[in-house]
Symmetry: C2
Subunit: 316 residues, 2 copies
Amino acid sequence: MADVEVLIPQDVERESPGKVAQVDLRIRVHVVEKDGTTTATQPRALLLGGLSGDATQRVLREHPSVEWVHSFAAGVEHLLPQLGDYQGTVTNSAGLHGEPIAEWVILMLLTHAKQLPLLLEHHRNHEWQSERGEELGGKTLGIVGAGGIGGAIARRALGLDMEVIGTRSSGEPTEHIATMYKPDQFHEMLPRCDYVVVATPLTSQTTGLIGEPELRAMRDSAVILNIARGKVIQTDALLRALTEGWIAGAYLDVTDPEPLPADHPLWTAPGAVITAHTSGHSPRTTERVVDFFCQNLRLWLDGQPLRNMVDREREY
Amino acid sequence: MADVEVLIPQDVERESPGKVAQVDLRIRVHVVEKDGTTTATQPRALLLGGLSGDATQRVLREHPSVEWVHSFAAGVEHLLPQLGDYQGTVTNSAGLHGEPIAEWVILMLLTHAKQLPLLLEHHRNHEWQSERGEELGGKTLGIVGAGGIGGAIARRALGLDMEVIGTRSSGEPTEHIATMYKPDQFHEMLPRCDYVVVATPLTSQTTGLIGEPELRAMRDSAVILNIARGKVIQTDALLRALTEGWIAGAYLDVTDPEPLPADHPLWTAPGAVITAHTSGHSPRTTERVVDFFCQNLRLWLDGQPLRNMVDREREY
């Protein structure tokens, strides 16, 4: 059987050297440079990761032989418009970023419960000053878009004795979430939550999903966390919610716009904590994505259905 | 049978009104004022909580009829010297503060792993700047003095996929801690840990337990957390460890001295985070202590052995 050229970004190959080549004797790995150039002649598969949109477009334009593209990210809303005329298979890394993101969520739940920013401020001022913290145990966490990452969050929240509820467009059950609300019950779920975490993919359905009615439906003591995409929450409504006290805080790993300009009012909104798209960072992510890609590559070579196929109609 | 007068600090009775009186028809609750005065004539039991040392001493001096004192705190190293000639029973609240303290520990583990203080600084500067975070999953947490609170910490750390090991003077097993080091293996445990949390009672045995040899035995990438008592760690050695990079950080809910003076060098030591004895705070603590006291009161009235008896020789 003929050689199979597989394209891998230079940085990814450097972090996990040789792994992809070991999947099968037929595999020939070619790295993709930052500008999208490569020494491959007839590449058939492309693992993305850290490439600019321009570089991605260049690879696909110059190599129409590519028939499978794997996204390093879980969300593909940036990737899909870059694909141009490409009509081949797209897979994503949904579920592979869940561990660090779930840890980020737990960190922010506790940061809020214990008033950590205030405690750190006392430290900076050399003040021996305590604050009355809440306990997370017994509090209710609602997960909007409770898929794989939602399950990873839920498992950890249960370990902290929280109640976990969720909602998800497909209505399918998610591990570790006992009570799942149907999409049309979304507004019934919100007032039950002490914490609401947004974990839905960004699609035309979820763009602006959280606006004034949803924020007003939340308790004024509740906080919202966003580890999905900034555009799932309407920024103007969120600003009013924080300023007028509809809710008690917003822990945002993603914002709209992004990056957030230095003069944007969200930086100074009461109760806002913004962490500049860090939640998915982990030294273990590249290894997980490459391992997953290798498993999919095995399936692909064997003519089996791939995992994490992106439905371009559904947008995730 | 005769009435039994029980003394309860005003603040505690206000937070959990009527509970103690409901334990038995014979119970007559009398509140203790801030200055230690009370309307009781022959009180037999004293629930402490929020009383000054002077007030505690006054109650015991003026009411030699007291035969049982229950400490709101788990640690009794402050209480024991205040007891004077009192030779009756002492019980403590060991295990009742574990939930919020364990949450504090998880918060600090994640704060370190995700570099939260740096992320919050970027926020204050309106900088869209991410940081490479570590993942807590797979890291090793070592618990020094792994009793009840250690078990509460361990359960949550396991839920975050950490490895949990521990050491404890009694050598008895603790729930959720698979690998327990014997006290004489303490120095073997330290270099295995990414995080070391000090959770031992303060006794003459544990005063200064963590000094230069112990801090040097830790990895230079490891951090220490203290939710026990400040004097368990030798402050001078800790300062050198942080300044000279023997370890990467110290998350201290307790310090020696306490309160820490504004000009103390620990405030500015690299990697130090100090939270002014807040870890045990929870709106649920008073209820837990009163409930426990009520259970013990039932046992006491029935002539049964009390739980959480303090051994004044052992000092906890």
